[in-house]
Symmetry: C2
């Protein structure tokens, strides 16, 4: 696109919140006909509850679906049928294999001084304890840094307990700060002689749920049973340890095996002029098993599917291909996204976006485009403004399943959802359908439809302007 609009209007869409006058930023123009289509797409998103119906169907007819499980296989079949019903093209499953892990028992209890059960979640990849569990004294660390400072051998035979809290933030940045202990507790504790690792759940809620999640022990060569505690049980351990010696029994049993089956489900709206150029919309099909996988990531599956369906229903397909990727096995290590990136490395991905941050409204559009392509980012932000979406920066990460594509240089956008309460439910039994507000899903669908149509209809190159 050769012509940029320079003018006062552009100021409103600059990514800085600074109130001082600044040089006007370039905004790529959107032809009137395209704008009319965007308006139609946006309006039609609010006329149905299609996205809600999709996630309702998934969590009701399939339920939780651990990576590599039989339930995830049923979810793939469900997805193929659902995508056919939405009348997409080129629907297929691309299978891959991965290591399977699922806890079959996850129990913990205070043994002394006050026998009582605690609520835990075994961390993904945790090895089993001995049959019947292990029992040891707790050593509490206020944070990960304190555990790092402990000397080798100082924790011999103990259970490490990291009591670090997560901060609530709108953009989810509290998660990045808090999640390090989930992966690093086991290797650090094992290196110092401990027999198991407990962490305060990586979450923001005050409820008696433990938050599931992966840990990276395998990469670090550690093999220590590890679990997350509910907030109330972390509080309890902290109070007990402050009083004196506290012994805990931990019993984790697991079903772990190699060469389990997973797969990515793919569907397309084939581009009418440049079908080899792909606008990729991603969500993931798998979930942890304590909850229903409603907000993580049934909502994302529903949002990207319903958005693409609105474009499918237009009288004329956009120039480029819109591809929906419902990835398998995100939770246990973005296996599906990696398999996709390997299999599709030779294709031209124009831009990619992932919906994997719950079901709340989108409040911001961030991008990761080449600098000369920023006028396209501003045009997208302008197009999304009527939906209550504000401009963000050009440092988008895009989401976990975009990691391999981003590394390969594919431009990404992030339609940032409000994450204020996302980590109240994330990876807990409380990730259930009732946490989804249908009206918020409609807004997500509208935003994804606007973004995807713009990216697929215009000839914009987000790596650099195609002038």
């Amino acid at each position: 696109m050769r012509n940029f609009l320079f003018g006062l209007m552009a100021l409103a869409f600059a990514s800085s919140a600074n109130a001082q006058p600044q040089p006007a930023a370039a905004v790529a123009p959107i032809p009137a006909e395209v704008q009319r289509t965007l308006d139609r797409l946006s309006a039609s998103a609010f006329e149905t509850n299609r996205a809600y119906d999709i996630v309702e169907s998934l969590v009701t007819e399939i339920g939780p679906r651990m990576a590599g499980s039989e339930a995830e296989a049923r979810a793939r079949d469900w997805a193929v049928a659902m995508l056919r019903e939405q009348r997409f093209s080129n629907i297929r499953i691309e299978p891959f294999t991965l290591g399977f892990w699922q806890a079959t028992r996850e129990e913990a209890a205070v043994v002394t001084p006050s026998p009582q059960r605690m609520v835990i979640a075994a961390l993904g990849g945790s090895p089993a304890t001995p049959e019947g569990g292990l029992e040891a004294e707790i050593v509490r660390f206020p944070d990960l840094a304190a555990l790092e400072a402990a000397t080798p051998g100082s924790l011999n035979g103990r259970i490490v307990f990291i009591d670090e809290r997560m901060q609530r933030t709108q953009d989810g940045s509290g998660y990045g700060a808090a999640v390090a202990k989930r992966g690093r507790c086991a290797p650090l504790a094992q290196a110092r002689g401990a027999v198991a690792c407990l962490i305060r759940s990586v979450g923001t809620d005050p409820h008696r749920f433990a938050h599931q999640g992966g840990n990276t022990r395998q990469a670090d060569g550690a093999a220590l049973p590890a679990a997350a505690l509910s907030p109330a049980d972390a509080d309890l351990l902290a109070r007990l340890v402050a009083r004196g010696p506290t012994r805990v029994r931990l019993d984790i049993q697991v079903d772990a095996r190699e060469n389990a089956q997973s797969g990515n489900v793919i569907a397309e709206i084939r581009g009418r002029e440049r079908p080899e150029e792909i606008v990729l919309l991603v969500a993931h099909l798998d979930s942890w098993d304590h909850g229903q996988g409603a907000i993580d990531d049934g909502a994302g599956v529903a949002i990207v599917t319903a958005a693409a369906r609105l474009i499918r229903d237009l009288p004329r397909r956009p120039r480029r291909t819109i591809r929906v990727l419902l990835a398998g096995a995100e939770e246990t290590g973005i296996h599906g996204a990696n398999a996709y990136a390997r299999a599709h490395a030779a294709e031209t991905h124009i831009v990619a976006a992932e919906s994997d941050f719950g079901a709340a409204r989108i409040y911001r559009l961030r991008t990761r485009f080449a600098e000369p392509a920023l006028p396209y980012a501003r045009a997208m932000q302008r197009a999304l403004a009527p939906l209550g979406v504000i401009p963000g920066d050009n440092a988008a990460n895009g989401g976990p399943d975009l990691t391999p594509l981003r590394a390969a240089g594919v431009p990404v956008v992030e339609l940032s959802q409000d994450g204020w309460d996302y980590f109240d439910y994330h990876h807990t039994p409380d990730d259930t359908l009732d946490k989804i507000e249908p009206a918020a899903l409609q807004q997500n669908v509208a935003a994804y439809a606007v973004f995807a149509y713009l990216a697929a209809e215009m000839d914009w190159d987000f790596r650099a302007p195609s002038q």
Copy 2:
């Protein structure tokens, strides 16, 4: 008391909210010296966190404590030591026996069409299912009345599911309306040929917890496995049943036996002039076992104890005896209160109050006094007004543990706590210490101290004026 104050002031404390001028209601006068003591008691309640420290100690050092369990026995020993520390008199345990019941397994899962685990709580007194559980098709009823209308034999071999919801109310009245299904589901379902009974939890929260609670099957001669479902799982069953046949597996195993040991713990501030006249403050020591028993009823134990302690610390004991009753085995059938009422039937109970509705602020004082004693009720309401307590009616129930005393004619008061969120946590794993706000406990302590001191220092007779 012979003299009543008639005057305009009294209008402000009349129990009617009607704004029209009315005949002034009589208010018993409070001598200035007594008022000074009330002011001192009230102020001192806000100077310590004694009540919070007591409940913190109970839930940390004992934890949950099912009626008749070893944990409840430890709670009695804890209570005796704690009451000694508070320097009360005549501290003792009054033992009694009861039938013990505790679930050792409580699992349910959808078998078809979408295999997935559900979150349940076996209802107190439920018999076990066969080893390995039972499996049957669900029949949903929107409410208890619909089940009542089903004909005998029409539910042969099915699992009944009552999907009735509870309404949120400040005064807890929603509970009375909703709880009927908990007791009546099993006998009604059994009489119609069903093999088990599931109910939507009697609670107001949207979280993935099932609410425990007793059921009355034994009284009705029924013996049907019965459990409560979390809201999300009730929603799930409703959606599945709407789609077609839905089979569920239910596995409940229990530890049930006769002649278990429980007991009431009693402590006193002996009256300086009329020690045989008793002002009774009640809470219960036992709890369900999914939660910590923090708001139900560790908070009550803490409130009545800390209030009495403030009176104990006065330079001069009140005229009448203040007795603290920490009852055993309330949850499984007010066994402790019944044992107390039998053992102490010959004593003179002037008035009784129970704290068993959580840890939120008191907003109202209701009474159940003889009509001629209403000036005393108004005097109490007036004394409590500075704490934000409004006048209530004279139809107080007083709480479950007051049932036998109330039936025997003992006057009761109800220091009504705000119950808006009580049934979010009630009988769930989420009944944990963090749900208690220390400042709200202080207000409760102040109100109980004011009430108890007034009742014990004045010569008021709540059955009739002693003129």
